[in-house]
């Protein structure tokens, strides 16, 4: 962030309103914090209102940030999060579909329907529902930024993680199609594809994913690191920095991109 001639802080996102699903912790919180630092007003979403109140208190940004409770696996909640952003701050310029994950990992031969449906709801349907709703506001105003938090697993595959891998590949496909639909309307649609980051969600679900791959949690992280060029896992701030660039005016020429933030892991 720079400083204007009158000593007024000038942020890359001054005047913008952003909505971040799953914004109370992990990558979403890092993105929300970076957006706030650049002058945006931000809605963060999460399932747990008590956790959110702690997050809001820690952020200490007063009216600049607002919490909307909701479960992104539910369509009504997804639409209410977007509508609520507009109701509270008067508009929506930037949508970050960040919530996501998977649980109950297993090899496909042993995989019940439920974990696949859950992963698709959490990652894919959620991204679709909030994007579709946000387009209702962004298309008329001819300005918008959609940032889907995908994963390196949206570009490659891991055994035992088919739920997450399929859901994130679907998000990447949705991103590319949407970018072409709104490309001339001042709206960009991009996906960020981070390598593994030790967020709360990964700590919660990682052991199960590791077990489905025949590994311990530590071995799973080590394998992700080994697949990278930097031989270490990524950090939430890595993702937030790119999100700010895409969300800003200067990001207008980048759309339909699946940007790897993975320490050199994805082959393309």
């Amino acid at each position: 962030m720079g400083t204007g001639g009158l000593g007024v802080k000038m942020g890359a996102l001054d005047g913008r309103v952003a909505c971040v699903t799953g914004g109370t912790r992990g990558i979403g919180l890092a993105i929300a914090t970076a957006f706030l630092d650049e002058g945006a007003k931000v809605v963060i979403n999460g399932r747990d209102a008590a956790k959110a109140q702690r997050t809001l208190a820690e952020l200490g940004r007063g009216d600049q940030v607002h919490f909307i409770a909701g479960d992104v696996k539910k369509k009504d909640d997804c639409e209410a999060i977007v509508d609520g952003t507009v109701a509270h701050f008067g508009r929506i310029d930037i949508l970050v579909a960040n919530a996501g994950g998977a649980a109950d990992f297993a090899p496909i031969a042993q995989l019940p329907d439920e974990p696949m449906q859950d992963a698709l709801l959490w990652n894919f349907w959620h991204s679709f529902w909030v994007m579709r709703r946000a387009f209702n506001y962004m298309i008329p105003q001819q300005w918008g930024r959609i940032i889907n938090i995908s994963s390196v697993e949206g570009k490659v595959g891991k055994p035992g993680m088919s739920t997450y891998v399929a859901a994130k590949h679907a998000v990447n496909g949705l991103t590319k199609s949407a970018a072409k639909e709104v490309g001339t309307l001042g709206i960009t649609v991009n996906a960020l594809c981070p390598g593994v980051i030790e967020t709360d969600i990964v700590k919660e679900g990682g052991a199960g994913a590791a077990a489905a791959m025949g590994l311990t949690y530590d071995q799973l992280l080590a394998q992700f690191a080994a697949d990278s060029a930097i031989k270490r896992i990524n950090e939430v701030e890595d993702v937030a920095n790119v999100a700010v660039l895409l969300a800003s005016d200067i990001g207008a020429g980048i759309t339909g991109s699946l940007i790897s933030i993975d320490g050199g892991t994805a082959p393309y």
Partner: protein, 264 residues
Amino acid sequence: MSTSTGKLAGKVACITGGTRSIGRAMAEAFLAEGARVVINGRDEAKGRRALAELNAGDRADFYGGDAAKQSTVEGLIDFTIARFGQLDVCCLNSGGVQATAPVFQMSDEEWNLEVDWNLNHVFWGMRKSLQYMIPRQSGRIIVTSSVEGKLGKPGLPGYVATKHAVNGLVKSAAHEVGTLGITVNAILPGIIETDIVRETGPASAVAMGVGSYEALIEMFCSESSIKRPNRVEEVAAVAVLLASDAARNMTGCLFPVDGGTLPY
């Protein structure tokens, strides 16, 4: 922007082909973020004019020479280290086509020019800067590639082949130095109406069988989602990000700035 608080405060960068267009925009953005910068170009007078326009005093300098020559690329890096005492960011940006043709009519001269200009230039610059950066366990290499590093266009075989090769070089180098505090990335712009494209576009349009320069630009735009050319500032903003400390964990990345052109 203060020179002490910018995202690149204290950093030193060199940029091949930095007197105009994409390289020039990178220089402007780097200077605005507090870096010191050496730009390069073939034309000494144009270089001096660019320095005057950059208006950055002793934070910017010019090194003359053709980036398609090994002596220029290596000389630029030596000059930058001598001039500013260090090298943190090496932008291998120069490149283009001169008199392209379909493969069956391609001359050895044009082929060799494009290999030297687009590929060998990047290799020479990367090797030389890595020899400096590896002992220091710190550095950023940013290569200006192209959407044609992932696609293919008829009539541009040298450009397409060398940009593909550059992308491979970036990925290989990224893995070599990934644990050494050095990142190696490529930016893949879509069509931008740079001076080079304006100069060589009419001949390229003929080689590609699209008739006119305007038709060439329109063809590239029509393949994008935004239906317009990209802008040099859009590329420069990504270069700033990749050059900054914040991007320490991004490497081997082929970063498109193409308005939604590439399929992957």
